[in-house]
């Protein structure tokens, strides 16, 4: 039915030119991962862009209001918490709803980015079995997608500022900065456990709980200043690295400087950097074995 479709290779014929033999799995040493992760992102930017787009489009599929939900969701959540707070504590100051809405956005970014990165390998099993590319791209795109969605949520700041007649200052840059920072705090932790989540999905469930519990432990419904007013607890909250980005967003909108001691800021940044280094190392070291479980 078919002819031999092509000339026989004629092991005799001289096909010696062209690419040379290389190991198919080319990986940099794991200790370099904290740096190579960034270069990988740049090298595969076309892929990264498409995957991030998939991440974002997937979130609001088949929704009439579409991206409006990025603003609606935190706004509605904040109104619920506002009423809850009035019932529990009574008569908060007039800015309180604003603090809650910003808290919900920033915490939402952290929480979703964390859950997204933790499950980034296990969710993408199909793609992983289809083709090899540096797998760090999966948690990276999960984080980037959530950062972009949270940035869109920040549009809500504009009507708030008009309503409360707040001045536009340079500090407004704190708002996007706080989103970036919460994403950064999330990815280190996410990379650290993403390979483990391939082996046992319990990790995913555990982190869903952590995100929910963290919501109350972190200044989402309350503020750093409220804790300060309680005396000794005030300094203790600084052990929570999320206090810095949450407070940052609020002070940005209010047009004030951060007002958190340097130790607190450095501690939070340091936590992020250490987690990034540790997470990159662990992810790089264990992902190859972990994907066999998918």
């Amino acid at each position: 039915m078919f002819d031999k479709l092509r000339r026989k290779p004629e092991y005799m014929s001289e096909v010696t030119s062209g690419p040379v033999l290389k190991d198919v799995v080319q990986k940099d040493a794991s200790w370099k991962a904290p740096l190579t992760n960034i270069t990988v992102l740049f090298k595969h930017r076309f892929l990264v862009r498409n995957l991030v787009q998939r991440e974002i489009r997937g979130r609001y599929r088949n929704a009439m209001l579409g991206y409006t939900w990025t603003v609606l969701e935190p706004a509605m959540l904040a109104s619920v918490y506002y009423f809850l707070f009035i019932m529990l504590a009574g008569n908060p100051d007039r800015m309180y709803p604003v603090w809650v809405i910003l808290g919900v956005i920033v915490w939402g970014c952290f929480g979703k980015a964390l859950q997204g990165t933790v499950s980034s390998l296990s969710r993408n099993g199909q793609t992983i079995h289809l083709v090899y590319f540096p797998r760090i791209i999966f948690p990276m795109t999960a984080m980037q997608g959530n950062i972009i969605i949270s940035m869109m949520s920040c549009v809500v700041v504009l009507p708030i500022m008009i309503f409360y007649d707040l001045p536009v200052t340079i500090y407004l840059l704190y708002v996007p900065l706080s989103i970036l920072m919460s994403g950064f705090l999330a990815i280190g932790l996410g990379m650290l456990v993403a390979p483990l989540n391939c082996v046992q999905r319990d990790i995913e469930h555990l982190f869903r709980f952590i995100v929910r519990a963290g919501f109350f432990i972190s200044p989402v419904m309350w503020t750093y200043e409220m804790a300060q007013a309680r005396g000794s607890i005030g300094d203790m909250v600084l052990y929570n690295p999320m206090v810095v980005p949450l407070t940052m967003a609020r002070h940005g909108v209010a047009g004030e400087s951060l007002g958190i001691p340097w130790v607190g800021i450095l501690g939070s940044l340091g936590f992020g950097i250490v987690m990034w280094i540790l997470g990159s190392y662990v992810f790089n070291r264990y992902e190859a074995g972990a994907v066999k479980h998918l």
């Binding site: 092509r6 290779p9 096909v15 010696t16 198919v24 498409n50 319990d202 994907v291």
Partner: protein, 239 residues
């Protein structure tokens, strides 16, 4: 002497067995490893310009071997070397996102397969044309039939010619007309690609296009050689 395109040396690959937490802990304590050996000490070379077929029963390790070559699984023991770019044609259209349009998915899938932006811009009209989707290309993929998805997948996957092409059972998707067309496309790809490794169950086709066949049984290579002889060996071993 002809250079090798792929060199697999003494590759062994184990898969962990999924167990509950308690059992895993017990194994950890007892230093016992429960695992399934998918490939056992496999060595194989593929020459440049050769079309090599792999046959074997389901679960014998054929697809795993292709995944070793494409770098998806690193070998537990042994080494695998290859010369040049590799592309694996398998599970066409996996990774599609249902709520994006066919056009967006073509670009997404292309980027997943490692096509550059340049290539996708250049080849997109041709891909859309080949997939025969017409106006459906601007509809979300969730509205597609499975045949339409496979067509789009094949169109994207076959858009570029790699140095080494790995094909895992993707012949024969869609209706008879498209099946013929897709077969032609893949054979075309086979013809223009330097080196091809093909996994298939259609022995007739393999006999026609493969220069050599490899027979894998239970994770081991049982025989390598002329197609007719190896197919005979297959039936003798498995009957």
């Amino acid at each position: 002497m002809t250079a090798n395109a792929v060199e697999i040396k003494n590759v062994t690959l184990h898969f962990p067995k999924q167990r509950n937490a308690l059992k895993m802990l017990m194994n950890l304590v007892q230093r016992k490893k429960e695992r399934f050996t998918a490939l056992r000490n496999v060595s194989l070379t593929v020459k440049k310009g050769e079309v090599l077929g792999i046959i074997g029963k389901n679960g014998s390790g054929k697809s795993t071997l292709l995944r070793i070559i494409s770098g998806i699984y690193p070998a537990d023991e042994g080494s695998c070397k290859a010369a040049g770019s590799i592309s694996l044609l398998a599970g066409l259209g996996t990774g599609f996102s249902g709520h994006q349009t066919g056009r967006e998915n073509a670009i997404l899938y292309g980027s997943i397969l490692g096509h550059s932006e340049q290539v996708m811009i250049e080849k997109l009209p041709e891909i859309i044309d080949f997939s025969e989707l017409g106006s459906f290309i601007n509809e979300p993929v969730r509205t597609y039939s499975s045949g339409m998805k496979a067509r789009l997948g094949l169109a994207v996957a076959s858009a570029i010619y790699p140095d080494i092409l790995l094909i895992d059972e993707v012949l024969g998707v869609g209706d008879p007309q498209f099946k013929e067309k897709s077969k032609k496309r893949i054979l075309d790809l086979v013809k223009s690609t330097g080196t091809v490794v093909l996994v298939s169950h259609s022995f007739g086709l393999m006999k026609d296009i493969c220069d050599r066949l490899v027979f894998i049984h239970k994770g081991k290579i049982v025989g390598v050689g002329e197609p007719d002889a190896i197919i005979k060996l297959y039936y003798e071993t498995t009957d």
